[in-house]
Amino acid sequence: MGILTKKDARLILDPLADDNPITIQVLGICSALAITAELMASIVMAISVLFVLGIGNVVISLMRNIIPSKIRIIVQLIVVATLVIIVDQVLKAFAYELSKTLSVFVGLIITNCIIMGRFEAFALANGPWRSFLDGIGNSLGYGVILIIVGFFRELLGSGTLFGHPVLGDAIEKTGLYATGYENNGFMILPPAALIVVGIIIWVQRSKNPALIEEN
């Protein structure tokens, strides 16, 4: 299965732009707001979701023929929660440092509606390989938005990237700050993420008018 067919490639490429989980499907917004104050946290979250969604989609897809329809929501939630808890506990036992970094994200991943959304919309109706690709594609599309938002919020809000000052020292007034520039403290508050995502949507839909909504 080394070569992707055209149809398979679309599963990965579509969510990156025209079918983006955040800006078009409106999935996974909460985490996009909560963790994008710093670029590093955005990247960690994007990678975590990549793992969970990729594996979770395959598991659900394998189980799709035996899940009773009446309790499918419970089953889906339990599968993803179990996966996350297993990973969390194993990391705590064998890679404690790493688990400390990731523990903050555990709750955010389980409650992330992008995961339930893709289970429900795709994995329940498709085979494991295609579900896997769908999972990867959607988490990449999710990650791209997270990283863009994280980049602007950290740069404009704290004047740093990955924690390193890039605009000079805000307290000593060097670099850009010598000209009177100030950090915009508003950017690190969660409402700013909403506005940045709003602007991303604006840019995206200006480039592709087919996406414009009526109202």
Binding site: T23, I24, V26, L27, G28, I29, C30, L33, A34, K70, I71, I73, I74, L77, I78, A81, T82, V84, I85, Q89, V106, G107, I110, T111, N112, C113, M116, G117, F186, L189, P190, P191, A192, A193, L194, I195, V197, G198, I199, I201, W202, V203, Q204, R205, S206, P209, I212, E213, E214, N215
Partner: protein, 258 residues
Amino acid sequence: MLEHIELFFKSIFIDNMVFAVFLGMCSYLAVSKKVATAVGLGAAVIFVLAVTVPLNWLLDKYLLQDGALAWLGPEYADYNLSFLSFILFIATIATMVQLVEIVVEKFSPSLYNSLGIFLPLIAVNCAILGGSLFMQAREIASFGLALNYGISSGIGWFLAILAIAAIREKIRYSNVPPPLRGLGITFIITGLMGIGFQSFGGMLTGGDEEPEEVGKTTVEKIPAKTKTIEEDQSTGREDKKTEEIDEKSVSYINVIKE
């Protein structure tokens, strides 16, 4: 009673699920095009929160907390099942949602038709799980307060979705740039509303109350205590309480000297 009132308003305004902690955003953004549907979903969220938060409170208290199993007998007191919180809370919520769906369908088909499609959506609404996890993390003290917290945070979410739905209905008459129409402008409006709601942060919790109290007690107690330490511990005290403190300071000093 006062703590109930305080929790009630705090959960609605200061800790508003949507504007303060940004939970339950997905359904908030997706299902807020019309006021009527927003009201339906909001009511369903209030109901599910009001049921699941107290239910999970009981689970937490008698099953999950460190040492919660003590009621089974002293030999169970050492078990800590808190790593199961996520999975049990989720199971409760999903079960409740599905149960509500079945009951409503059976007994009130008309209500089911107006709510029906929104009910399954609630299971994935992170405001619901968030409510239960906040309840656990903030160690809400009693069953009554948990019920209160469930209802009031539900009302907070209800108000938020009602407000945005009303704004979205009106904004149809405004000349929004086409690429921003729909989702884009909703994001930005929500951001602005979030900034507005931040000002509620100054309510109730408003700053100086607690330190003042601490300061008062220190002023009252410290002179008496330091005096006893500096002078003689055996000086007569009319108050039993200070006598106890005297004993304390004696033993502390001994330990430190060692």
